[in-house]
């Protein structure tokens, strides 16, 4: 057993994670404070954050890897590329937290600083940063879990795209180990690595994340309720996630219409500019990163026929992935909704199931790919492998959000079926399922977003000499295009996927979320 190597893998990954987290917090402070204190900046930043939070950032890995590694083609560049990928998954959520926290500072405090003629820096140091602390701490918890997924995925992708002439030097990391050990038939060390990750996740959660959250309590404004009871799962999901999603879908009426209604109006006006800026920036980034290599350069523009052909191919792949995302989500919903309700209705079950679920959910799903491939029969069906990885990546969002939803229902409502001798089915149909619905939709939105990210890694995966790949899929297309330098197809794939998801979010999901929260929120 290579304890040293496994430890080195874990430590390397954790260093990347910590650096990405530090970067995310700095970015979040800068962006969040700017958006909260400057109306013009707010009008641009909010919709941008909204878009970045809702698109499958992992699909952008070629831009990041080719761009950064292309500029700094060595060990440092490779690590920066991975850290940036993790950063892109962590920062939006924390930035929203800072924005909301600074926005929520009572006017009295701002007046106080006006009276004392504080400089901008003094304001930031003495008020904005402390006021943001507890939100940063809580949002860090969700960002860490998402980041871990991205870390593993991007490490695996870096290895996966290191073919032929492109050999990216990144020797250690849990994603590297997860591909290296199984490729060498070293399943003992692979198992050791997974065990090590579980231990590291749990230790980190309690030594750092929880400590950070508890420490940050002292920065809470007096008006805010203090956390007396530590209930990691429901806290984590109901509070942070629901806030993030509410923001995401402009669903601010429950936060307090008066303060946010003008924000919403500005948000809407800013949105179209934001999308435009975003697309232009993205196009520039894409072009600059790939102009030097592949089949697409400024001097060699594609013909209309090439464009149509490539786009048609992209649409076929995107269609297949769309179906994949939804049927995997359907399975997760069918399991997650009843399971989450059943667990939350029983105190005993809740107390025993929560820690177990917490450990399972903390294992980044891609790390298990080599193990899933080993399962008899299923392991040889790429479609099943992809579905399992995606399920393991997203089902937690549904279970935990449903649990949070049911837990926050008042005790009297939960006892109502008892008081009126309502049968079990009628109770579920009339009370528990409707009561869980808001949490379920919140979880579903996050889960679908997660499923698109998971696709990138689940549809095409190489463990040693065997490559597991689905027939058609946008994730597979993006990975193969990156490795083979098909930049026209790659650019179209990323753009079309992003457009589909943004449009779908702004139309379908937003409407569903509004309708469900309007009718199915239990307000006392």
């Amino acid at each position: 057993m290579q304890f040293g190597l496994v430890a080195l893998d874990i430590v390397s990954s954790w260093v990347r994670m910590v650096l990405a987290l530090g970067l995310s917090i700095l970015f979040a402070l800068a962006i969040g404070i700017l958006a909260a204190r400057n109306r013009r900046a707010e009008a641009v930043i909010l919709p941008l954050l909204d878009i970045f939070q809702s698109i499958p950032i992992l699909g952008f890995f070629p831009v990041v890897i080719l761009g950064i590694y292309g500029a700094i083609p060595n060990f440092v560049g490779a690590n920066i590329a991975v850290i940036v990928l993790i950063f892109t998954s962590m920062s939006w959520n924390i930035a929203f937290g800072v924005y909301e926290a600074v926005k929520a500072i009572p006017q009295d405090y701002l007046d106080l600083l006006d009276v004392s003629k504080s400089s901008s820096w003094e304001r930031i140091k003495n008020l904005y940063i402390p006021a943001s602390m507890s939100r940063i701490a809580y949002n860090t918890q969700i960002s860490w879990a998402v980041g871990l997924f991205f870390l593993v995925a991007s490490e695996i992708i870096v290895v996966g795209t290191s073919t032929g002439s492109l050999q990216i030097p990144i020797p250690y990391g849990i994603g590297i180990g997860a591909t290296y050990f199984p490729a060498n038939n070293d399943y003992a060390d692979y198992a050791l690595l997974i065990g090590g990750i579980v231990v590291a996740v749990i230790v980190w959660r309690y030594l750092f994340l929880r400590a950070f959250a508890l420490w940050s309590e002292k920065y809470k404004m007096m008006e805010e309720p203090r956390e007396t009871h530590w209930d990691p799962i429901t806290r984590f999901y109901s509070w942070v996630n629901h806030r993030a999603i509410s923001k995401l879908f402009l669903l601010t009426h429950d936060v307090g219409v008066s303060r946010f209604s003008s924000t919403i109006a500005r948000f809407r006006r800013g949105l179209k500019y934001a999308v435009l800026i975003f697309l232009v920036l993205f196009g520039l980034l894409l072009f600059s990163s790939i102009a030097s290599s592949g089949d697409l350069t400024l001097s060699h523009l594609p013909s209309a026929a090439q464009l149509v052909g490539a786009e048609a191919n992209v649409l076929v792949n995107l269609g297949a992935s769309f179906v994949r995302v939804w049927y995997v989500y359907g399975i997760c919903a069918a399991i997650g909704l009843p399971l989450g309700i059943a667990i939350s209705l029983s105190f005993k079950l809740y107390d025993t199931a929560s820690p177990v679920l917490e450990v399972f959910s903390s294992i980044p799903a891609p790390i298990l790919l080599p193990a899933i491939v080993l399962i008899p029969v299923i392991g040889h069906a790429p479609e099943a492998v992809a579905a399992i990885v995606m399920m393991l990546a997203i089902i937690w969002y549904i279970i935990f959000n449903v649990m949070a939803g049911v837990r926050t229902l008042p005790a009297d409502l939960k006892s109502l079926p008892n008081v009126y001798h309502v049968g079990r089915w009628a109770a579920w149909r009339n009370v528990y399922i409707p009561g869980a619905l808001t949490g379920f939709v919140t979880g579903s939105i996050t889960a679908i977003g997660g499923a698109w990210n998971a696709l990138i890694i689940a549809e095409y995966f190489t463990a040693g000499t065997t490559t597991t790949q689905v027939g058609v899929g946008i994730g597979k297309l993006i990975v193969i295009d990156t490795a083979t330098g098909q930049n026209l197809s790659l650019a179209l794939a990323i753009l079309t996927m992003t457009a589909l998801i943004v449009v779908f979010n702004l139309t379908v999901w937003r409407r569903v979320y509004h309708r469900v929260t309007k009718r199915y929120t239990y307000n006392r």
């Binding site: 009126y420 309502v422 009339n430 409707p434």
Partner: protein, 261 residues
Amino acid sequence: MSQSEPKPGRGSPVVRVEHVNLDYHKEKEPLPVLVDISMEAGRDELVAITGPSGCGKSTLLRIIAGLVRPSAGAVKVLDSEVKGPREDVAMVFQNFVLLPWRTALENVVFGLSSKKDLTGEQKRERAMQALDVAGLTGFENVYPGELSGGMKQRVGVARALATEPKVMLMDEPFSSLDDLTAERLRKETHSLLISPETSIQSVILVSHNVEEIIELADKVVILSGRPARVSGVLTVDLPRPRNKKSEEFFRWVDKVYSYLS
């Protein structure tokens, strides 16, 4: 005079709470919440339970409802021991506890789910009647979110009435309403509940509002602070309708206060 079965008259016990104790178990050390509580609610009586906030009034009501099991002692409704929620006991909650995703009518029908002998149509009819009695004619198809607090509580009352309970339990039913609405609803309550037209034989009301208690109650059970013991039982013999401005009324209010302080 023939020795035929005496018709149960006013005051004959409907609900009997016998030496009820309740302990919470926190870190193995039992924490007494209710100590040796005994009380009765008789036929056609409205009994109010009051006491300092947090003393366990609502918990006592939940024990009577069969939602919470006492650590010792027993509750009997019409001479049968309460071992869980019963069909002949209905409850009205402080925060209404309506299903926001169901209309007023559907909420009342939901309360009739256990009545297997009724067809869907019969349940609807009965629910409509209850809504009528509670003063909600015309609001059957409105969702709770579109109703005022007072209207919501009327739905809560209708839901309880529709089950045709023998005992009605009310947990601070007026305290989340504004003063005017509460006043109006209170005025209707006694005549609505204690009338030959309803199936209700006894009403137990938990409240911390002393004036409300003197306005409504035939009997007041006063609990002391933590842990709660019965510190007094008063029979309020003021004639009805009760004049809240009268000197006698104030005397009763003062009397209850003197027990509370």
